[in-house]
Symmetry: C2
Subunit: 391 residues, 2 copies
Amino acid sequence: MPNPIAPPTRILMGPGPSDPHPRVLAALGAPTVGHLDPYYLQVMDEMQQMLRDLFRTKNQMTFAISGTGSAGMEATLVNLIEPGDEVLVCVNGVFGGRMVDVAQRAGAQVSTVDRPWGEVFTADDLRDALASSKPKLVAVVMAETSTGAWQPIEEMSAVVHEAGALLLVDAVTALGGVPVEVDAWQIDAIYSGTQKCLGCPPGLAPVSFSPRAMEVIQGRKTKVQSWYLDVTMLANYWGSDRVYHHTAPINMTYALYEAVRLIHEEGLAACFARHQHNHAALKAGLSAIGITFAAQEGHQLPMLNAVRVPAGVDDAAVRGGLLNRFGIEIGAGLGAFKGKVWRIGLMGHTSRAGNVLLFLAALEQLLAEQSHECSPGASIAAANAVYAADN
Amino acid sequence: MPNPIAPPTRILMGPGPSDPHPRVLAALGAPTVGHLDPYYLQVMDEMQQMLRDLFRTKNQMTFAISGTGSAGMEATLVNLIEPGDEVLVCVNGVFGGRMVDVAQRAGAQVSTVDRPWGEVFTADDLRDALASSKPKLVAVVMAETSTGAWQPIEEMSAVVHEAGALLLVDAVTALGGVPVEVDAWQIDAIYSGTQKCLGCPPGLAPVSFSPRAMEVIQGRKTKVQSWYLDVTMLANYWGSDRVYHHTAPINMTYALYEAVRLIHEEGLAACFARHQHNHAALKAGLSAIGITFAAQEGHQLPMLNAVRVPAGVDDAAVRGGLLNRFGIEIGAGLGAFKGKVWRIGLMGHTSRAGNVLLFLAALEQLLAEQSHECSPGASIAAANAVYAADN
């Protein structure tokens, strides 16, 4: 018989999952009630409102898809796309590429705008692409988890809407870590995941659809290809009718509820400032030992620090040493960045000064063992200087 | 700010979720690790083997879909169906009907064999339907949660395979409560849910695909319409390659692991006997006060007791009284059975003698208040007689 569940102690500083707050784990393990229990319906209502406040939207259709962030991607795309629809996807990393695949499987005619990994799109890039096409939908990743690039959305939005298209935004890594303004930026469909800056275990995908998007969905000529992700049916359960669709993931909803409650307790501005601040300290520390970022300057995400593996350093040995000796998980590079990049997450509850300092100390140790030259303690001193400047 | 999560105390005797065992909730709330952590990979491997032992199969492709039971339904159907494929679905309740919808959305030409709600299909029903069609796939629900009917699978299987079709079985409510023999019955694709007889909160869908089904999937001419549920991609993560697909629902996997471990600890035969025994006691108790079953005699599921609301009794008042005064949740009737049927679940950890007796005592009380005639204590005495017979 296999052993009982007894996970090792980890500090999750990869691209997600991040460390859930103890209150989130406690909520997750609370006693299950039925999916039509009055208590659960109240939890759903309150969570929807907290998600609206987090997405900064009045969108009625703001709720959580019963799957991970990728299910959120699929849900937003398959509900908005009918076979033959033109879709334009901005691709500058793994997750833009994934949207192309998902949209094609939904029958879309997909074209792309491409930028090298680590760079972001300008409004002009998009304007050029839209000059020669008239897509129903433009999809863009706000926080590219594979590169650490932070895509500005507001200026893209104007261009997309001038062209008469809907704007779909991947906010899997963005939400809860940097400002996301669904209404102000006129985002028509957006999805996130629970295991990044929301600090909740993976398993749900918060989504929001604008009234304009819902009109498009209600006016479809064909059924949504996915029964499980069909927003018109899900609306009847999340709405006042409470029509049974599928059995909701009760306990995961408890956890997400508590995670979002924690964010509102801290306050959005304070939460974003914390993410930014720990990023600044980490960046100062890494810079002090010569480690540079993969994403272009001025567009580096605070919660996902993709940095170049220094020349001559054994990527896997460092990641293995961090995990096995210090219990610290960081992420490897994906796709074009495989073996070349480390992805250091400072997301949600993981984004704390203690984690930044411990990580830098452990990294210095492992680099020294590989005879990688850097001045001992330099990274810690630089990070501490950032923290000290505030006190 | 909404209140912290603090669920009321419930006994979940509806059609699922059932009460998770305390050990399952503890596992659910264990610290999160990464989805590529060596510890998590080991948990996945061991869980896959425990699921194989539970499904009674050697199928390599036995794992959990990152969604609820309905996602399992969609995953098995969309992987096996290509546009234009003929599919035959057996419909005698809500969930057969749902399979029709899901299969049609995947582009299948669907035909049905129908039986009245509460009845099951005979091999002859199927033989007749297959005489005039040659489907790629025949889909059947083993335990119809809307009616409580227990469909024999073995004799269906022979007919399906004689016709050269694949056999797909819905075992959402069946698995863990009654014998399910994937290899012996030559089932090609099967799905379940965690929140029924596995006694785990909702959120995952154990599935298994036979080598024959995998051959069909590998030989597809078109991509699976769902990226999220594409078994060929999921196989690369659950297999030895460990290629990242989507971030696995780590904590839900902990919970399912522990739930299946509990079943193997008890032993499959003992677990099925327990479900059968508590059903016999409940049935004796209900019979003693004149309450009859909706499913045909000889085909009544032990874990899902769908019984007729007695004439003159207020359905909603009884369910409300059970919930609000005794903390007991039972299920209302669905679809054609709305207002006419109660669904009393004795699934997983909920299937205990104490729950049977408490439920009968509470029901007697509520019926008496509605002036429904029954001899006081009669149901308890009858149930106790069943339990006493064993001691």
